[in-house]
Amino acid sequence: MGYVAVKAGEELIERAEELFEKQRLEGETDPVSVDQLDEQLGRLSAQAMSEGGLYAPRLAALAVKQAQGDTVEASFLLRAYRSTLERWDETTVVDPAEMVTTRRVSPAYKDIPGGQILGPTKDYTQRLLDFDLDGEDDPEDPTQEWDIGGEEPPDTLDNVMDVLRDQGLVHEPDGPTDDDPADITRDPVTYPAGRDAVLQALARGETGAVTALGYSALRGYGQVHPTLAEVRVGRLPVKIEHPYTGVEATVTSVEVSESEAVVPVYAKRDDPQFAFGYGLTFGRNERKVIAMTILDASIQLDTEDEPAENPEFVLNTVDGLDSFGFIEHLKLPHYVTFQSILDRIRAIRENESVGAGTADESSRDADEQLAEASDD
């Protein structure tokens, strides 16, 4: 389908934008500050960073404010901003075991090295509306009476996958590789896609899309129903080689969510071991990272039997900006292309003498009919 440009007038576009902006301001309360969004609605900015593939908490909070809470629009703003920046370099490769963990649970094993930490979560409580939050005044920190020490966190926490690997239950990789991984922000994904490209694409996938496709595998449209080895939330160090000394140095850290899963497909293999899935993404987003784990495991099956197992299908549909752009472009003017379709259908109907009694009416120009309607 070809596209034809239209124009309407810059002033009208500005008026529409001003109306949009007015919707944010017309209430009687003070505008929400970027600091408030950053501190109190961190899940929103985390989702925007995750889907934008860009870690910048304050800019993400600004994007959420500008997008009036639309996370995909916010991730669009982040990616647009990102496109204006140079890349300084890649970081040195960091091991997720270096994560300073604030939450870590293992549905697979009760006792794991380093222990299980519930951390900040409401997973185990009822989902009931808290009416006290509406109009709360000077709330108190519910943890202020906690009697806790301040010992150093461990440098690393062994992951559960290593326990299984030590028992020979998970495939032993050939050894660490230091090949430059694919970078889908610079080179488009080609198929068959490498696992590095798959993980990068899923890590920046739209939360709803990743969740829906992961869910499809669980609902029977796939073979993968994993057991999660562990789910973690914490901060990963961001390290570079110092340009003067060449020594590895930490610049900052990024909050991430991580998930590892084992998949019992041993009955189909000569060597009865678990298959696996892995997920890691920016920010606190356990739902997405667990679904990413299911999709990573499903994609490794590389079949066309089910959507979640087809890498091309999954990677072509999970990106929020791609789907957002394609879906929403449909509301933009398509007058010329639609007129062409109308002409074609009328010609076919005329050739086949369909609806002869109404031929005159149906061939009238649509603009003419609309003009008549507006006169009524």
Binding site: V94, T143, T177, A182, D196, L236, E260
Partner: protein
């Protein structure tokens, strides 16, 4: 003599020191009217975060992190800083602080004290966060005997 480890540690401390503290220190350095050249303007740039996934031990690109690097020369000493986020003033201040120590500027003693204090604050915050999480460490009990 500044060793590579000193420089690296100073870099890490500058990157995690509050922007207003760095600004005050940089103002003190520049108040003595030293020779001063900006070698790299403080503009936000990207670092691609690479992670080694723990299953097959292969690196992949997780996503990009916004940082602001800057490089300056103060009294013949060179300074480089990289500050997280879009933070032009903090990055430039950090580079000035780094260069001032490299050049042995009279403010060096105060800079070292302030950076050490900021590092201690950060360590204390991190330990407190870890302790809060540890306070929720759980030992699940299976209830098969009760069934």
């Amino acid at each position: 003599m500044d060793t590579a480890d000193d420089r690296t540690e100073r870099f890490e401390r500058i990157a995690s020191t509050e922007a207003d503290v760095l600004g005050d220190l940089a103002d003190d350095v520049l108040a003595s009217d030293p020779s001063f050249t900006v070698l790299q303007e403080p503009n936000p740039q990207l670092l691609m975060q690479r992670v080694r996934e723990p299953v097959e031990h292969r690196p992949f690109n997780l996503g990009e992190v916004v940082v602001t690097p800057a490089e300056v020369e103060v009294n013949g000493g060179r300074g480089f800083a990289m500050y997280p986020g879009k933070a032009e003033r903090a990055a430039l201040s950090g580079a000035i602080v780094d260069a001032a120590v490299d050049a042995g500027h009279p403010v060096t003693g105060r800079i070292r004290e302030e950076l050490a204090a900021a590092a201690e604050r950060r360590r204390s915050d991190r330990n407190h966060e870890w302790a809060e999480s540890q306070y929720t460490a759980v030992d699940f009990e299976t209830m098969e005997d009760d069934l």
